[in-house]
Symmetry: C2
DNA sequence: AGTCAACTGTCAGTGGCTGACACTAGTCTC
DNA sequence: GAGACTAGTGTCAGCCACTGACAGTTGACT
């Protein structure tokens, strides 16, 4: 069920350890090949060959080619969610979301590094943004996440998201802005985590003022 | 180039007319089959058979199975864009977008009906929202549209979207909220265009107040 | 009427993905 | 420690979306 995290708990037996190794190997090989030659250009056979397993085995670890790309993303997201759950109840919803992302980024580093180099993950993220089919999948995953956030926020505030549009609307706006920042970061080839963080803060800050007023003569 | 609109101008020769007929036939057959048996469950062969052409021909009219689903969406979007371009320059950006959607919906009806029954189009929209792979494609298309809107809005206001985050942010928020409304409309099985319209207005109105303030005791 | 070009069908092939079945290798029991 | 059990794997066969190449047909234009 918790298939998102590729190797969270310690392995018990030899069998488990072997499984974890193959999975991690497949994951790294896939990302390496994807980022080197392109996602569409890389075949599942090539990934399987690189790890010396059969193609069928790849599909036993990952439901599809796509899933390998988003395995790490899964970890980051669940990190964000738990961070959001821990936010003090008296914070305004938008502020809570804003702080949760930033805190999540502060604390995720090592966990990711245990499985793949962070630098590879960042290359992977840029690939997602620039590969149409992956971008599509990324966005759909975003929606699923949005829905979970909406539930969370509505719960915090004691509202029914089916009746009151505000949780949904706030989350949608938040996610939209986050995505815009991510896109921009991906387009500018430069920059590491710090620049992404700065960009995110700028964008989130710009939202409220941008909505109601006219912008002429900034 | 303007391949989005399936039969905009009048057909000149017999050849043109024939082409248009096959294309429209493929489009209707595809949507009919998709909405009846499900998108994933319908094969391209079945669509081609229904129109009595070869599978290869289908792929000559549509770059992929997906494209058939979004052919009508393409029309609606370009309608929205031209509506937005016509908005008076003194309207605030967010307001201009809001009015452009509503005006576009007022005037699109007949154009769509010329090709497929509106009712079929609405079934198709619900299918998109409830079919993961289509939702993904839908969202990616949304991004492309967002980028074009951003250009437009930035142009209106005489800003460079690469320097000033406000156009991007406002459009992202707008699109996010629009999508949330669409999703909700799709989930509630009921309702036609009017209920979608009402839902959209409610959601857009809720945005600005939802951001900065606390919501307890509404 | 005849040439040209557009449109279409057929065929063969690739790549993602799945079910079925047999085989190998940890694991657990006695 | 040997044998039974079963999770994990490889192999094979097949479906479906999609593509390139080639040949046949049918509007269009002189």
């Amino acid at each position: 069920m918790t298939e998102g995290q590729p190797s969270a708990a310690l392995p018990t037996g030899l069998r488990e350890r072997k499984k974890r190794r193959t999975r991690d190997a497949l994951l790294v090989a896939a990302l390496e090949l994807f980022t080197a030659h392109g996602y569409e250009e890389t075949t599942v056979d090539e990934i399987a060959d690189a790890v010396e397993v059969s193609q069928r085995t790849f599909f036993r670890y990952f439901p599809g080619k796509e899933a390998a790309v988003f395995a790490v993303q899964d970890m980051v997201e669940s990190h964000f969610l738990s961070e959001l759950r821990q936010r003090p109840a008296d914070e305004a919803p938008f502020e809570a979301m804003r702080r949760a992302v930033l805190c999540a980024w502060d604390s995720i580093g090592q966990t990711v590094e245990a499985i793949i180099p962070v630098e590879l993950h960042m290359r992977a993220y840029r690939m997602i943004e620039s590969t149409p089919s992956l971008l599509a999948a990324h966005l759909r995953r975003g929606i699923v996440l949005e829905n979970r956030i909406t539930e969370l926020i509505a719960g915090r505030e004691g509202l029914d998201p089916a009746r009151d549009p505000r949780p949904r609307v706030a989350v949608a706006a938040f996610s939209g802005v986050m995505r815009a920042a991510g896109q921009l970061w991906g387009q500018r080839g430069d920059g590491g985590m710090e620049s992404l963080r700065a960009l995110t803060e700028t964008h989130l800050d710009a939202l409220a003022p941008a909505l109601s007023e006219r912008w002429r003569t900034p």
